[in-house]
Amino acid sequence: MAPSKKKHASSQPCIIPGGFTELSLQFSSDSAAQHKLYVKEHKVRAQKSSHRPLDRTLFVLNIPPYCSEGVVKELFSQFGCVQSVELRDHPGSFQDSGPKLSRFFKPVAKQGFRVGYVVFENSSSLKAAKSHPHDVSLVVCTEQRPVKTGVQKWIQQYTESFINPDKLQQIVDSFMEGYDKRKEEEAERQRKEAEQQQEDEEGWVKVTRGSKGTKGRPHSEAANERTLQKEMRKKKRKELLNFYTWQHRNTQKEHIADLRKKFEEDKQRIALLRAQRKFKPY
């Protein structure tokens, strides 16, 4: 598409060590300075994910904070149809984030420079992007696609933060419904497991790591520790203190050792203070 026309121009794609292609990006057509995006096909050895198909995903570094997912999608659609865009703070594997949340309950995203995974519909777009000449910049804010920043953006954010209480209640209700359902399913599963451990008609018990089995041993770290301490205390209670002469002597020795230690500590503190000239009163 577009890049094929520019290929025979003097400019070449700029490729740096590491296999990244440098793309320039400027906010508007009259911006004086440009950011550099670094793009490369997404390549990982192990994990295969349907979210990031290896042959069609472009890995983009250094996306400025004012580029939202929508903006990035439009920017890269000049190389071919974009299926999805994922922006993240750090490069890393795809994580599933539990049940679906409404926009009001999502944690606030950090607004720094981000990395992006752009998934095209065709793998050919990948090549087109990589061979884009470095001196032709991508423009973020054009007349057809204004991007709000600064005061305009903050006012918009403020306006969007309003939500009708009824609607909010609905969201809460639907989430809690889902939550209750999940809870019930869980309880059901546990009940079934427990059932399995009952004797069947022939008197056999199926042994699994179910709830009944775990009852005997502590199931949390804290409980684990408590049991250990209990044992220790029990042992200690049985000991006699200051009973034999040697024990008494030991206590006295400990006391003198304590005093000595304190004396030494103080002395060292003094040495430290002296080193800092702390005794000059004026």
Binding site: I16, G18, K36, G150, L168, E221, F263, D266, Y282
Partner: protein, 1107 residues
């Protein structure tokens, strides 16, 4: 190396000591060596086993026991020993002094004789040397000639061995030969004038010698009748010590009973030219002449005492340091080193302390004696046979403070005012109070902390134009007193002014102090300065917090005899008033509508009392136009109402267990307390669905409305889910429900959000957060791969605990502190305003600043808790700049919950893990080990800068406040130095919201205003998120129109290309290597893009950058 010595004493002295003891000694040696050298970091002591459990010797046991029993910490004993080493004179210095004294003595012996002339004839004196005396009246009878001195002796502290650094003064008494004087010279200032002439003669002769460095005249303790000559050695030693030459009559030349305090030695006719039948006594004149007669006897007496008590010299040295830190050691009517040694001698000879006591005990007992004995009522005497000398009662009639010397004739405290003695007593009793308190660093507070007047007194006033006191002496009919003081009208009028102030201020003050005018020094070539030439008199008061601000002064009933006296004191301000209890009394009502005006009542009183003079209020420049206390009170009242209403709400599925405020405004420490305000609707757009206002593009930013955080704890119940997301949704449901109920019952406009509920009430916005006490626990729990439930601390849980537990607790505790100390809030606000203005608002957060200020009130030693916002602010700056943040934790003992053992525990934990703790470490009862408030900030560099700027500000402020001649522009300390920053982003003032805006209280209900919308902080947050690893951003949160940017020192160092480190960077390829550097042009462009509409201009100071 000193350590080694004291350790060696502990080493067993028996020669047949086993071999095994050798090893630890060696180990110890090497250890102390590196401790004394470069090593400045404290490490926990590690003693080897054999070292700790070695059999003790008797000597060692004794030493350990003494240290344990005598001092609550042996540290204090060692610290005092070290301090004494610092102030003691070195051997080298003593040799210098001795050789210089020899030279001077030799020179003095060869003073040439001059022919006898009339006293008033000064022709024998060359014009280059003036007489150090104010000749009023001009002439007196008598003859004078110069001859070599009869003897030259060392007197005072140097021969006694109590001389201390700094400003080493060696006193040299030069005896005027008997043939120069006449026994009748006592009368009419003849002797003092001859003494001055003799000094001038010595000065004239010494001026020609090259062995003398510089020569100045001065006078002893501000007494113009006793001029002295100050000599310094030549060359580079000139600043190391000063020799003070006194001229004295031969011992026993005058009869001591001539100087009885009730005898007259200045004739009125000679002094004023008027005839009187009755000659008034001249006690002050008498004592100043008598003082010249006795120094040798005093030295003998003190040497005898000192030889009995081995710790005498050290005890005196400690007491001198103590006095000097309290600025009581010099000036007219001071408690000088001589008095200090005399006092200790008195305690020793009267067997109140024993000769075998250590210096530490001497100091302690002396302070105890001072605190408990009032010398203004019960004077003390060192005289052996009191019958032949004036009685104490006679001394009390003539002087305010009485301490009689061994001869029984001289009151050594003749010039001291009762106020100075009361101040001394107050200082001693304060010292005794904190001495035994193991939670206070006794040594530091006692001997190391300077207490200048400006940081000690709650209010300071200055009396300028001292010359006006001359006329007031006439008005007060003080001519005979003026004669007694030989024309020094300042000293004459001072006691009267003090008693006037004391009467006027009465119950409002705790203590009235005044500055001791320093001894004047002038060159031998110039005339003696006039009395008015001394610096202005400063008066300091310590206020009684309960009574200081009351606007009404209720006098005696109209028909009582005291009424006339009252009317005379207050003049036209006094009027008859009828009170609710039916009494009709004289009363004065001062202006005092607001708290701010009430604070000024003492000032109004003083101005009224001293209206003859030009009184200058030191703190007037630091006065806030409105101190905002009323506003804070309104907020708190409104909050109390809301909290009551929340408690009473019915129809919630779970009940409310606690409603807690968590906002500075609710503890009176918000810099600009929220003001109920009226809105201009044309500046807003409207949001249809929720009837709320939103800011309008193109219009100035709406006034910032602070949401006041309120935490609402809900009852725990099995119904709460055990899942973080579910809890958040349930909380939201609570917000919605609370909002509905408040709207229904009280018609408040509410806006529920997932995180909070905003309530618009009385023109204020309260932001209610519903909290569930188990939520932090839930956030910490997770199930690991083995199915084991693990509890791990994380940031999210900490932040939640901070918001729902620590902040409300701090708020309520500090609210309580405000109730105890009415000016706590005002100090906090001044301090925070300063921090904000200096762009430190993000490093020393509001909570941290409040805690720092709280520490000033909770642990004021050696001061008393600040009684005015100004002195509190000065002490805050002093705390910031002088506290040793590196080596000490600041313990803020809120509610007095920490015991002494907790302090040691905190200190030990602190020293053991110093490296991993925040640089500014604050421990509180609920947080002994972590310092949660300062965890995030400040960094080392920022703390250093804060300390530096605080020290500068303090210096500037104190200079300006103490100097009434300077133009008072204290706002200078509120202007940050901007030259240190790399980029300045200037903001459009119209888009910067301001906190202050007055208006009428709007009705509850109606549209919700724009809440918590602050473009500057939004912009700052975006900048920090995007460029936080490259630069630091600073801004004044209280309406500052500039954002200062500082590149981090390592920002511009190229780093190898890494996918995780390319934010805002561009790649530079050199050969095979790819490095990244920040893309500065694009970053500056981003500053502009991200702050579109807010930024006015961008100033990049490229010349400063080191790219």
């Amino acid at each position: 190396m000193l350590c080694c010595c004291c350790y060696c004493q502990m080493i067993p002295s028996e020669s047949h000591e086993e071999e095994e003891n050798e090893a630890p000694v060696k180990a110890k040696r090497s250890k102390t060596e590196d401790a004394g050298g470069e090593e400045v970091v404290y490490h926990p002591v590690k003693l080897s086993r054999s070292d700790l459990y070695r059999p003790p010797t008797a000597e060692e046991l004794n030493q350990l026991k003494e240290a344990e029993s005598l001092f609550h910490c042996s540290l204090l004993k060692m610290q005092m020993e070290e301090l004494l080493k610092e102030v003691a004179l070195s051997e080298r210095r003593k040799q210098q002094i001795d050789s210089f004294i020899q030279t001077v003595t030799k020179l003095l012996r060869t003073v040439p004789e001059s022919p006898e002339v009339e006293v008033s004839d000064l022709s024998w004196l060359s014009s280059a040397v003036k007489v150090p005396f104010l000749l009023v009246p001009k002439t007196t009878k008598g003859k004078f000639h110069m001859t070599p001195p009869a003897s030259v002796d060392l007197i005072g502290s140097y021969p006694l061995g109590t001389c201390t650094k700094p400003r080493v003064m060696v006193d040299l008494a030069v005896t005027i030969p008997a043939d120069v004087l006449h026994p009748k010279d006592v009368v009419n200032q003849r002797y003092p004038r001859k003494r001055a002439l003799y000094l001038a003669g010595l000065a004239q002769y010494l001026a020609s010698s090259s062995d003398i460095g510089s020569m100045l005249y001065s006078c002893l303790h501000g007494n113009r009748l006793r001029p002295v000559l100050l000599l310094t050695p030549p060359g580079k030693d000139s600043s190391s010590f000063i020799v003070r030459v006194h001229a004295c009559p031969p011992p026993g030349f005058f009869k001591p009973n001539r100087f009885h305090p009730q005898r007259n030695n200045i004739r009125t006719e000679w002094y004023t030219g008027l005839q009187t039948s009755h000659e008034p006594p001249t006690p002050h004149y008498n004592s100043s002449v008598l003082g010249d007669l006795l120094p040798r006897a005093h030295l003998q007496f003190l040497s005898a005492v000192s030889s009995q008590c081995s710790a005498f010299a050290d005890g005196v040295a400690l007491l001198k340091v103590w006095l000097r830190q309290r600025e009581l050691h010099q000036g007219a009517g001071c408690f000088n080193g001589f008095l200090a040694s005399m006092l200790i001698a008195y305690l020793l000879t009267s067997h109140r302390i024993s000769n075998s006591m250590t210096a530490y005990q001497l100091l302690r007992n002396t302070l105890n004696f001072l605190a408990s004995t009032d010398l203004t009522v019960n004077g003390i005497s060192l005289a052996k046979d009191p019958d032949s000398t004036p009685s104490l009662a006679e001394f009390h009639d003539a002087f305010q403070v009485v301490f009689v010397d061994p001869s029984g004739h001289l009151n050594m405290c003749a010039d001291m005012t009762a106020c100075t003695y009361k101040q001394l007593q107050h200082e001693a009793s304060v010292s005794m109070q904190f001495w035994d308190n193991p939670t206070v660093d006794g040594f530091h507070s006692l001997l190391m902390t300077p207490k200048p007047m400006i940081r000690t007194s709650d209010h300071i006033f200055q009396l300028c134009e001292l010359v006006k006191l001359q006329s007031s002496c006439k008005k007060l009919n003080l001519l005979s007193e003026l004669m007694d003081h030989s024309g020094n009208y300042v000293h004459t009028a001072l006691p009267y002014i003090l008693s006037l102030l004391q009467r006027g201020l009465g119950q409002r003050i705790h203590l009235l102090t005044h500055s001791l005018s320093p001894d004047p020094e002038w060159s031998v070539e110039s005339e003696a300065p006039k009395h008015k030439a001394q610096p202005p008199l400063s008066f300091g008061v310590l206020l009684m917090p309960e009574l200081a601000a009351s606007a009404l002064e209720r006098g005696p009933p109209a028909d009582s005899p005291k009424a006339a006296e009252f009317r005379q004191l207050w003049g036209s301000r006094s009027e008859l008033r009828r009170f609710q209890d039916g009494a009709i009394t004289e009363a004065v009502l001062w202006d005092g509508e607001s708290m701010c005006q009430k604070r000024l009542v003492p000032r109004q009183i003083i101005t009224h009392l001293l209206q003859l003079y030009h009184v200058f209020d030191m703190y007037c420049a630091l006065q806030l136009p409105s101190t905002g206390e009323e506003e804070s009170l309104l907020v708190v009242q409104s909050y109390d109402d809301l909290s009551r209403k929340l408690w009473r709400l019915e129809g919630l599925p779970l009940s409310i267990t606690a409603v807690q405020g968590a906002h500075p405004a609710l503890r009176y420490t918000q810099v600009f307390p929220p003001l109920p305000l009226k809105l201009d609707y044309s500046f807003f757009d409207r949001e249809k669905t929720s009837r709320s206002l939103v800011p309008k593009e193109g219009k100035p930013c709406p006034a910032y409305i602070t949401p006041i955080t309120v935490i609402c704890h809900m009852e725990g119940s099995g119904k709460w889910p055990h899942d973080r997301l579910a809890i958040r949704h349930i909380r939201t449901a609570f917000h919605i429900r609370l909002g509905e109920l408040l709207k229904k019952h009280h018609n408040y406009t509410c806006r529920p959000c997932p995180t909070h509920l905003d309530v618009w009430k009385d023109g204020l916005v309260f932001r209610i957060h519903v909290a569930y006490h188990r939520e932090p626990q839930v956030l910490r729990e997770s199930v690991n791969a083995e199915g084991l439930l693990v509890v791990r601390d994380n940031e999210e849980a900490q932040a939640l605990e901070m918001a729902t537990i620590h902040k409300p607790l701090l708020t309520s505790t500090l609210h309580g502190l405000q109730q105890q100390h009415p000016c706590f809030g005002a100090v906090c606000r001044l301090a925070k305003r300063w921090l904000g203005a200096q762009l430190f608002g993000d490093d020393i957060t509001e909570d941290t600043a409040d805690l720092l200020v709280a520490s000033l009130f909770l642990q004021p030693a050696p001061f008393t808790p600040p009684g005015s916002p100004q002195v509190g602010f000065l002490r805050f700056l002093h705390l910031l700049s002088s506290f040793d943040w590196r080596n000490n934790p600041l313990v803020v003992n809120l509610n007095n919950q920490l015991a002494a053992t907790d302090y040691t525990e905190i200190k030990n934990d602190f020293t053991a893990t110093r490296e991993s703790l925040p640089v500014l470490f604050i421990a509180t009862p609920k947080d002994k080990k972590q310092s949660i408030w300062t965890k995030r900030a400040p960094s080392v560099q920022m703390l250093q800068r804060v300390v530096m700027v605080a020290a500068e500000s303090l210096k500037l402020l104190e200079n300006q406040l103490m100097d009434s001649n300077q133009i008072q522009d204290v706002r200078v300390v509120m202007r940050p130095p901007l030259d240190a920053y790399d980029v300045l982003i200037h903001l459009n003032p119209k888009q910067v919201p301001r906190g202050i805006m007055a208006g009428n209280v709007t009705q509850s209900g109606g549209a919700l205003p724009v809440i918590n919308y602050n473009p500057v902080s939004l912009y700052m947050a975006e900048l920090r998120e995007a460029f936080g690893d490259l630069a630091l951003f600073f801004c004044d949160p209280h309406g500052g129109t500039v954002i200062a940017v500082l590149w981090k020192p390592k920002a511009f160092i190229p780093v190898p290309f890494k996918t995780s480190q390319v934010s805002a960077r561009s790649v530079v390829v050199t050969g095979e290597e790819a490095n990244t550097v920040p893309n500065v042009e694009a970053i500056l462009e981003d500053f502009r893009i991200m702050g579109k509409g807010l930024i006015k201009s961008l100033e990049a100071r490229t010349e400063k950058w080191s790219l």
